[in-house]
């Protein structure tokens, strides 16, 4: 298949999105279609897909916005206590005030404690920076690393398939994306030999400065083994790369036999000298996991082993966004310090999180069941993360038809899927994939009934599509 210009690809990505918007509007206006709604699973956005926010988060947020609620009887005592604590930390007792650039100190402290408990290693609040979303924090760290004036240009090793927004960030700041391919046959594993190949190849075209990993993976759903993580750490140490670890899906683990462990913890357990020298930035956010608060824009970065002389410049960059949105900070506070057993809100919190957990575990089971049964589609184990990324085994006829339409085959599939069934997923070509392979990505953080309907429509469509192009 001919290499398509980036310009054309971008246009088609936008066209697919616009078509979905158009169809949604048409349905709203009562236009008849073979389906009653668009099932939009194109984003990693649980609320958009129909999942509910956690009650405790929203009660605290409401009470902070409108403190008169603290005088009423409708909110549980622990909500009130938390809101009062947070309001006391705000200048003038208002969430409308600016905060410290790195976030309200008490919230940064909560996050430090959360990290410490998770890893069994103390985290220093001074190395934690809250920011409007993890992607923006990542952009700031990339700004430090990527020298757009240099020749050769700075390069960042990034996974294929990978989250395209991050790759775009690197490019917009004048850096080069140096791809490393994940191993589909082995559950999308990250292989050290592939990293070495990618680095050698990259050195010809750029000056590699950093390695970006996302674990649990987006779009792959892979969770790295500890061994794999140790290999990555040794690799970046040997090759003098800065390690960027995107861990926003760390709460989304579905496989009973798999555990998420943070890069910081693995690094620490490797002991000195690596533990004291290897530079690492870990990113997390309130957008995924149980909270799913994408719209509140609450994320943070923890910086490990940074050169102290660089830290003032980190601060300057974060200053340009003044202070992070307080609503996002509140979400992070609850993420880091949820209700505990004994708290009035705990039973509801437990119920809600268990419901979310079991829904997603069941969704994953159903997805794998369905793809096992369907012909011409296969799916690697979904250990965690927010998406399914099944492979389509398209016939030459389908590929040819796509080529005639000037589209990548999986884009062609997605466009037809949207048109015929109202199911809006994204094609693998947007994330990168091995030449000649095709995939689709869809969010699995949906209510059970939505997933069931999605799978039903997708299966019907897929069988028909395969028949049409047999």
């Amino acid at each position: 298949m001919q290499e398509m210009s980036a310009h054309v690809r971008t246009n088609q990505m936008a066209a697919l999105t616009e078509r979905a918007v158009r169809i949604k509007r048409m349905l709203e206006q009562g236009v008849k279609k073979p389906y009653k709604d668009v099932i939009d699973v194109s984003w990693g956005d649980p609320h958009m897909a129909g999942m509910k926010p956690l009650t405790f988060v929203r009660q605290v947020l409401a009470a902070c916005c409108y403190p008169q609620l603290l005088d009423g009887d409708n909110l549980p005592a622990d909500v009130k206590r938390r809101a009062q604590k947070l309001l006391r930390c705000c200048d003038g007792g208002s969430v409308g005030s600016y905060t410290n650039t790195a976030g309200i100190p008490a919230i940064v402290e909560s996050i430090a404690q959360f990290i410490s408990q998770r890893d069994g290693v103390p985290a220093d609040p001074e190395n934690i920076w809250i920011h409007p979303g993890s992607q923006m924090a990542l952009m700031n760290i990339l700004t430090l690393l990527v020298n757009s004036e240099a020749s050769p240009k700075s390069g960042v090793l990034m996974p294929v398939p990978g989250y395209n927004t991050t790759a775009l960030s690197v490019k917009t700041m004048g850096g080069v994306v140096a791809p490393y391919f994940l191993d589909e046959e082995h559950g999308w594993a990250l292989r050290a030999d592939e990293l070495r190949r990618a680095l050698t190849s990259a050195r010809g075209a750029c000056w590699p400065v950093a390695l970006y990993v996302i674990n649990p993976g987006n779009p792959t759903g892979h969770i790295q083994s500890r061994k794999s993580m140790e290999e990555v750490i040794r690799f970046v140490a040997e090759n003098k790369l800065f390690l960027l670890a995107d861990e926003v899906y760390q709460s989304s683990v579905y496989d009973a036999n798999t555990e998420f462990v943070s890069y910081k913890k693995v690094l620490c357990e490797l002991g000195p000298p690596l533990a004291h020298t290897l530079e690492l930035a870990s990113f997390h956010s309130a957008s995924k996991g149980f909270l799913g608060e994408c719209g509140l824009r609450g994320g943070y970065v923890e910086l490990v082993n940074m050169d102290p002389a660089v830290m003032p410049y980190v601060q300057r960059l974060f200053h340009l966004a003044s202070s992070p949105p307080v609503a996002g900070q509140i979400a992070l506070e609850v993420m880091a310090k949820p209700p505990q057993p004994g708290d009035p809100s705990y039973p509801l919190y437990k119920h809600e999180t268990e419901h979310i957990r079991s829904t997603l575990v069941d969704n994953v089971k159903r997805v794998l069941q369905v793809f096992t049964r369907l012909p011409a589609v296969s799916c690697q184990p979904l250990l965690g993360g927010g998406f399914a990324f099944p492979r389509l085994h398209l016939t030459p006829k389908a590929v040819h038809k796509a080529k005639e339409a000037g589209m990548q085959p999986d884009m062609f599939y997605c466009a037809r899927l949207l048109e015929d069934t109202g199911v809006f997923v994204r094609p693998g070509c947007e994330y990168g994939q091995k030449e000649g392979t095709y995939h689709i990505r869809f969010c699995i953080m949906t209510p059970a009934d939505v997933m069931e309907e999605l799978l039903r429509r997708l299966s019907t469509f897929h069988l028909q599509f395969m028949k049409d192009f047999s």
Binding site: T10, V146, L241, S323
Partner: protein, 527 residues
């Protein structure tokens, strides 16, 4: 392959260290760097083998030369801590009149806005009959426009459609019916996000063709910091202190002509009402600036975040967009303009929500496509901020349940600010050696102060700007935290400070009298 060294870059700021007025993180100790055990070498040298060092770092970041740990703000925070620990000081409290944060100084939020935000946060409250119906219907409308009816969903990166439409309607009404296309509205994370994004879009080129951006002296240091980080050329044009900080076309021309020698000037930034100056430009001045921008083919950036903060008699806010369109198609079809607004100032003061928008006029289609791509990289602005912006542009109307209270609160806030603006100007002008232009608008006063030669010399001895030296002394002796004029830029040999007019009136009176006493004491000591 050889890696070229980054070329040393000239100091771009107006020969002075810029003070970043945002709060620095208190007590940042550089030595702590991650894991518990220390790895800094005995002699304090940087640990060997780091990937990211001062030398390998992106060189443009190094050029962001503002005193980040704002010695004055950091010291103020330290003093607060000392006071809370019971240490004796010549003052009872630290008064932070350094930052344009109204709520921090006790200004109350608008009840209606907070009610709607609470309802949007926790829609169960729609069943609570202590909330007025009009707040509930606004909340329902906002929630309907959110994915999954939740503020927790991503919005489109340009912002929620219905909010952009409401913003367009507001702009149209504000500007006497001049059409506003919702497609030209981009919601942003505070105005700063929009400003930085536009600058990113505008800055390009190498060497003599490097983009130059005209900014006022004095200016709000976000501009100089962003330009430094982007490696753009900062072109300074001086505001005319003697004429109430007005813009002077001949001065703009001078600055531009000179700049053409070493860069490619592409944009002109204007803040109206002005920060730190408080100047509100009259209509003729705005027309002149537009003509200048048209003639010299400059992209106009109009920072209008203080548009409701106009106090002085005879002053009125005129949006650049409105004036542009009233000048007829010769200008309105050609001049490229970006106007910025925010929820952080005016009568709302909601800095923490990070709400804002920008309106783009006459932007080339290809550039607009690039802009769309740039904003998509940061995903979307915070939805609560978007919701708040929606309320600001679509407030309670006459006849609605919340209207009376809303008007009462808004009027009270704005008139208190007007009173404080007047008070500040009056008191400061009674001090020999302090001269204060009328605070026509915005939230600050930027008086000129005379500093005796002896003090200037002592400051030099300490390696400090004279007005920094002055402000530090003021802080230590009175607990009052202001920002020295050197942080905003000023004519050589002149000194200023910027103070906000935000403290509650009684506190403001105390602040002003203390400043007066201090100035007299300081002048006497160094005479």
């Amino acid at each position: 392959m050889k890696r070229s060294l980054p070329t040393p870059v000239e100091e771009m700021n107006h020969g002075t260290a810029l003070l970043w007025k945002r709060r620095a993180m208190a007590g940042l100790t550089a030595a702590r760097c991650g894991l518990p055990k220390e790895s800094v070498a005995e002699n304090g040298a940087s640990p060997r083998g780091k990937v990211l060092t001062i030398d390998t770092m992106n060189p443009t970041v190094k050029m962001v030369e503002y005193a980040v740990r704002g010695p004055i703000v950091q010291r103020a925070v330290e003093l607060e801590k000392e006071l809370s620990e019971g240490r004796k000081k010549p003052f009872q409290e630290v008064i932070k009149a350094n930052i344009g944060d109204a709520h921090a100084m006790g200004q109350q939020p608008i009840t209606f806005f907070r009610q709607v935000l609470a309802l949007c946060s926790y829609p169960e409250l729609l069943n609570d009959n202590t909330f007025p119906e009009d707040a509930k219907s606004r909340a329902r409308r906002i929630l309907q426009s959110c994915g999954g009816n939740s503020m927790g969903s991503y919005s489109a990166s340009q912002g929620i459609d219905s909010v952009r439409q409401d913003v367009a309607r507001y702009v149209q009404q504000r500007d006497g019916g001049v059409y506003c296309d919702p497609d030209n509205i981009y919601l942003t994370t505070g105005a700063s996000d929009g400003i930085v994004t536009m600058l990113k879009l505008l800055v390009c080129g190498e060497g003599l063709a490097r983009t130059g951006v005209m900014i006022s002296i004095p200016q709000y240091p976000l501009y100089s910091a962003a330009l430094a980080e982007l490696g753009a050329v900062q072109i300074n044009y001086y505001l005319n202190e003697e004429a109430c900080w007005s813009m002077d076309i001949s001065e703009l021309q001078r600055a531009l002509n000179e700049a053409r020698g070493h860069c490619n000037p592409r944009a002109l930034c204007v803040i109206n009402p002005g920060n730190p100056t408080g100047q509100v430009q009259n209509r003729k001045c705005i027309e002149d600036v537009i003509r200048f921008a048209a003639k010299e083919r400059l992209f106009l950036m109009a920072d209008e975040v203080y548009q409701d903060n106009v106090y002085a008699d005879g002053c009125q806010f005129h949006s650049f967009k409105k004036v542009l369109f009233e000048m007829g198609p010769e200008y309105s079809n050609t001049v490229e303009l970006a106007s910025f607004h925010s929820t952080s100032k005016c009568y709302m003061g909601e800095c923490g929500f990070r709400g804002g928008y920008m309106e783009i006029i006459n932007m080339d289609d290809d550039v607009k496509a690039q802009l769309t791509k740039l904003v998509s990289v940061r995903l979307c602005p915070p939805v609560p901020g978007q919701a708040l912006m929606d309320l600001v542009v679509n407030p309670p109307q006459p006849g609605e349940a919340s209207y009376d209270k809303f008007i009462k609160e808004r009027t009270a806030t704005l008139s208190a600010l007007a009173d404080k603006a007047k008070l500040t100007e009056e008191v400061l002008n009674t001090v020999p050696g302090i001269s204060c232009n009328p605070v026509q608008g915005a939230m600050y006063s930027f008086p000129r102060i005379s500093i005796p030669e002896k003090a200037v010399n002592e400051a030099a001895g300490k390696g400090q700007q004279p007005d920094m030296f002055y402000c530090m002394r003021l802080l230590e002796e009175t607990g009052i935290c202001l920002v020295p004029g050197s942080g905003f830029g000023q004519k050589d040999g002149t000194y200023h400070f910027r103070m906000t007019i935000l403290p509650p009136t009684d506190k403001l009176k105390i602040l002003l009298s203390k400043v007066k006493e201090f100035h007299q004491r300081f002048t006497k000591q160094y005479s």
